[in-house]
Amino acid sequence: MIKMKTLSKKRKMYALVMRCLMWLAAGITCALLLFMISYILWRGLPNISWQLLSTKPSYLSNSIGILPNILNTLYIVIATLVIILPLGVGAAIYLTEYAKNQRLVAVIEYAAETLSGIPSIIYGLVGMLVFCQFFSLGTSLFAGALTLVIMNLPTVIRTTQESLKTVPQSYREGAFSLGAGKWRVIRTVVLPGSVDGILTGCILSVGRILGESAALLFTAGFAHSLNGFFEGLNSAGATLTVALYVYAKEQGEFGVAFAIAAILMILTLIINLTATLVSNRLKRRIKA
């Protein structure tokens, strides 16, 4: 180790300045983090009540409830996952197990990367044009779910692909040598070995769905009516995030908005923790 005393003044200054800058930046970041988290919880938690969580908005009693929004969020998450799982996992299986043409693989991967860079407002616009108008689904949760499927496809493909790659080649060879066909090998050997990657992809997608607003505003609309699952998918409805926007920007109901923000932040925290846990397992396996 070098002794600081023996350094020239200039080098000492350089080290000091850079170190200060690093601390300053890290300090600012931490302060921002602390402020965001504590401010949202401080403003939001007192506004969360059982009544808010378990009722729908009512003009008669002049009260606001977010139960319809909670249910809408749940419906849209379920619908999106149901569609995206076969699509994303299938695409990943094709890329890692079947594809022989490297150029085609490059094209598909490039397409997935492009999709992940497109801003959500453009998804909203195209979703509105294609799903709501062209396929005449109208403004509905289902149209919103389809839009979200396209948005989250890259995430599911990437995480599934990563975990498919970790299944040792020898497992596949062993199964093949026992006479199993390709599909059987994938179904019984490869897929069970990559459940954690698929799970990570799903959790990350749920996180993005929870946070999405711009893509849903024009595709899923902003109604607050209470519906069952299938009925709900066919009608317009605001998810929690869209409801936050509507309450804050259009109605000035900041108490409700902060309550939703606090709920969303807690959900994000839970999702991040689970995703870290699952992907840590995955990483351990990559190392092993």
């Binding site: 970041t29 695409a91 946070g211 607003s213």
Partner: protein
């Protein structure tokens, strides 16, 4: 026996085909989005005139004699993004260096998940906090009549791009081989000099990718900006209410019709072209950093 074999073969081919179709869905989606945006964006541009549309300085879509110039939106988006980068990148960069090379494992184990949380918080939540904290603060400090302004949008965007800049830069710097650092330390460089003169240059394309990613995030953000920027179609100025490309689309979509609606699609097309340009450079940078 042969029949059964044939059947099995058929099923295998069928399944191969199904997975191929699944794989092509992503490509189909990109094509779909591109084609739809071009088809629905071109008519208005043709009617208004490309030059008039891109460089017109007045946007009055609902006036009796409507004019559709989106230069204010383009400039606002560019200024806003540039501002967010100027503000966010230094903070993100130095934090990333600290996390990657200087922080003790304990501190790192605390800060990294929290940065992840910051990345996961929905953009409307940033908008909400910006609306209720930042906007009033700007109004009081700078003594302007209304705090909703380009400055508020820049600050919110800078905070929003921080997590992705930090994450990508940290992983770029952690990928630098340990031998580089050892060699630099052995030659008598201090740890700080090693960080900034060896590790950072070695990770520079990864860090550049982080910045480009931030640019993409900032230019594409709609809802948070909508809540703090005020949404008036002014030419950009730091303390005035402004409208971005994204918010121009979002704010009029619900009640637009006819040429106005088509013009909104044209704005989306312009935004899409910007994003494509950014994506292409991002891919180039990532490829370069991978080759290393």
């Amino acid at each position: 026996m042969i029949k059964k074999h044939n059947q099995k073969q058929l099923i295998e081919t069928l399944i191969h085909g199904i997975f191929l179709i699944f794989g092509l869905v992503a490509v189909g989606c990109v094509l779909l989005i591109t084609v739809y945006l071009v088809i629905s964006g071109i008519p208005a541009i043709r009617e208004i005139g490309l030059f008039e549309f891109l460089f017109g300085t007045k946007w009055a879509s609902t006036a009796d004699n409507p004019s559709f110039g989106i230069l204010p939106f383009i400039l606002t988006s560019i200024y806003g993004t540039a501002g967010a980068i100027i503000l966010g990148v230094p903070i993100g960069f130095f934090t990333a260096v600290y996390l990657a090379k200087a922080a003790s494992p304990k501190i790192k184990a605390v800060i990294e998940p929290v940065v992840g949380l910051l990345a996961g918080i929905p953009s409307v939540v940033y908008g909400l906090v910006g609306m209720l904290v930042l906007v009033p603060v700007i109004r009081v400090i700078f003594n302007v009549p209304d705090g909703t302004s380009l400055l508020a949008a820049i600050i919110v965007l800078a905070i929003m791009i921080l997590p992705s800049i930090i994450k990508v830069s940290v992983s770029a710097m952690e990928a630098v081989p340990k031998e580089y650092e050892d060699a630099s330390l052995a030659l008598g460089a201090t740890p700080v000099e090693t960080c900034f003169r060896v590790v950072v240059p070695a990770a520079k394309s990864g860090i550049a990718a982080a910045v480009v990613l931030g640019v993409g995030r900032a230019i594409g953000e709609a809802m948070a900006v909508m809540m703090v920027a005020g949404n008036v179609a002014n030419m950009p100025s730091l303390f005035e209410s402004v409208r971005f490309l994204t918010t121009a689309v979002a704010s009029e979509m619900s009640y637009s019709s006819g040429l106005q609606r088509q013009a909104l699609f044209s704005i989306a097309l312009v935004l899409f072209l910007f994003i494509m340009l950014i994506n292409a450079s991002l891919n180039l940078l990532l490829k370069r950093s991978k080759e290393k």
